[in-house]
């Protein structure tokens, strides 16, 4: 009977605080989506720096990627949160999606700074997986380096990059839980809130893990579908 009781208790907690959870869920989705969209652009630029012929650009990108990937995300989140005011950047503190805007901005910035390093490696790997002969064939026709990238290399690399970016999105959804430490009202933060006001611990944690699992499962499913579509268009017709 213990299980029935436990389940009833979980349902009760969710029913009581459902608007808090759903609002926080929306926040997590927005935060993750914004992170991946922004870091896709910046990460691609950094990947271009990393494969460029300019040793200074290459050095900057390499150092950035190693540093970010070699330090914990939580440290990066705190560093951004406490570092922005030190740099003289004081964001206005108006209400934004149920959270303080300056906290939202700090959290988003920290996640972007982190994700850019991973996206950079995804894009670089995607580009470098394309056979060198493709670049040579394009160049020998008279395309310059940029045109070769745009018309020949990148469209092919995209087929490797897109599924990996999807996986990065799944990672970001999970890692975004860490920005709760600076008080950004996403899923994990709300879970802590519900724990303290309901005096229950297990139930809110189970609810939040189910919500995360639904999010990541839906994403994984979409990625699988996309991969299938890409591999079809990659196959020869006729």
């Amino acid at each position: 009977m213990g299980i029935i009781n436990a389940l009833t208790s979980v349902v009760n907690v969710f029913a009581k605080y459902d608007d808090l959870f759903l609002h926080a869920l929306l926040m997590t989705v927005m935060l993750s989506l914004a992170t991946v969209l922004i870091s896709s652009v910046l990460g691609s630029l950094m990947a271009l720096m990393k494969i460029s012929g300019n040793p200074i650009l290459r050095g900057i990108a390499t150092a950035y990627v190693s540093f970010i990937r070699g330090t914990p995300l939580m440290v990066q989140i705190f560093m951004v949160f406490y570092g922005l005011p030190l740099l003289g950047i004081n964001l206005p503190t108006f209400e934004f999606m149920g959270s303080d805007f300056s906290r939202f901005f700090s959290g988003l910035l920290a996640l972007v700074i982190n994700s850019v390093a991973y996206v950079c490696e995804i894009v670089r790997g995607g580009i470098q997986s394309i056979d060198e002969g493709q670049m040579e064939a394009a160049r020998s026709l008279g395309f310059n380096k940029r045109q070769s990238m745009t018309f020949i290399i990148f469209p092919q690399a995209l087929k490797n990059i897109l599924p990996a970016l999807g996986n990065e999105f799944v990672s970001v959804i999970k890692e975004s839980s860490q920005v709760s430490i600076i008080g950004l009202a996403e899923l994990m933060y709300i879970t802590t809130t519900v724990r303290s006001i309901s005096f229950r611990s297990f139930e809110p944690l189970l609810i939040v893990s189910i919500l995360y699992f639904i999010l990541t499962s839906v994403c994984s499913l979409l990625i699988k579908k996309m991969e299938k579509k890409l591999s079809v268009s990659n196959r020869s017709s006729n």
Partner: protein, 245 residues
């Protein structure tokens, strides 16, 4: 006044770090010449060919195309490459594009040719290499011989003055070599200027107007095919020919 040579290579050298692959190459090519470049593997044949459109950057010397040194910093190498086609051992077709688009992409993007006109050009070239029915398929569905014929059509689309062939039949199954060589023979007959790095001595002998033998980073001997093949004097050339003929 028209220059005697369309391409003049003078004292060309290329080193990779400490390895000096090309020591000093001199070569003159007239319009309509078919130059077969032969020699032992590792002799720098492909490197030399790849220097001619600067896929490899030479470390010394001059390459004059219509009298203009294409190694000059002021030269727009992309413009030169539109006039010097290249065909690769591994074909290097663009797998994400249809056969027709493989041929037209440079025309529409670099020459700003209208799509209809570019497609007509592609279809005419596909007809020429005997693959008109393959226009809408992707390269993955083609045999090696078909891929190489498409690659030749692709380089012809830009209407180049010279085509460089880098071992065009070396990656092919034996039964497909003939169809590619036939297209190259047709091109030679039509007056195309061609430089061909090849192991096909039959082709060199039958089609080439000039054979050059490369070894150790130098041109050891050069001349008409019968001179090189029948009356080779150089010991290295004789030894090589004895092995491959």
């Amino acid at each position: 006044m028209e220059r005697e040579f369309i391409l003049e290579v003078k004292n060309l050298g290329k080193s990779f770090k400490d390895l000096e692959v090309l020591k000093s190459i001199d070569l003159n090519v007239k319009k309509g010449d078919v130059v077969a470049i032969i020699g032992p593997s590792g002799s720098g044949k492909s490197t030399m060919l790849r220097c001619l459109n600067r896929l490899e950057e030479p470390t010394k010397g001059e390459i004059l195309f219509h009298g203009e040194n294409i190694l000059d910093k002021k030269v727009d190498i992309n413009k030169i490459r539109m006039q010097i086609g290249m065909v690769f051992q591994q074909f290097n077709l663009f797998p994400h594009l249809t056969v027709r688009r493989n041929i037209t992409i440079a025309l529409t993007k670099l020459r700003n040719m209208p799509e209809a006109e570019a497609n007509a050009t592609a279809d005419r070239l596909l007809e020429m290499v005997g693959l008109a029915e393959k226009a809408d398929v992707y390269p993955a569905s083609l045999s090696g011989g078909q891929k190489q014929r498409i690659a030749i059509a692709r380089s012809l689309a830009m209407n180049p003055e010279i085509i460089l062939f880098d071992e065009p039949t070396s990656a092919l199954d034996p039964e497909m070599v003939g169809e590619v060589l036939q297209v190259m023979k047709d091109l030679a007959k039509a007056g195309m200027t061609m430089l061909v790095v090849t192991h096909e001595m039959g082709f060199a002998r039958e089609v080439a107007s000039k054979v050059i033998f490369l070894d150790g980073g130098y041109v050891l001997t050069e001349g008409a095919p019968e001179e090189v093949f029948e009356h080779a004097e150089h010991e290295r050339v004789k030894a090589f020919l004895a092995k491959v003929m």
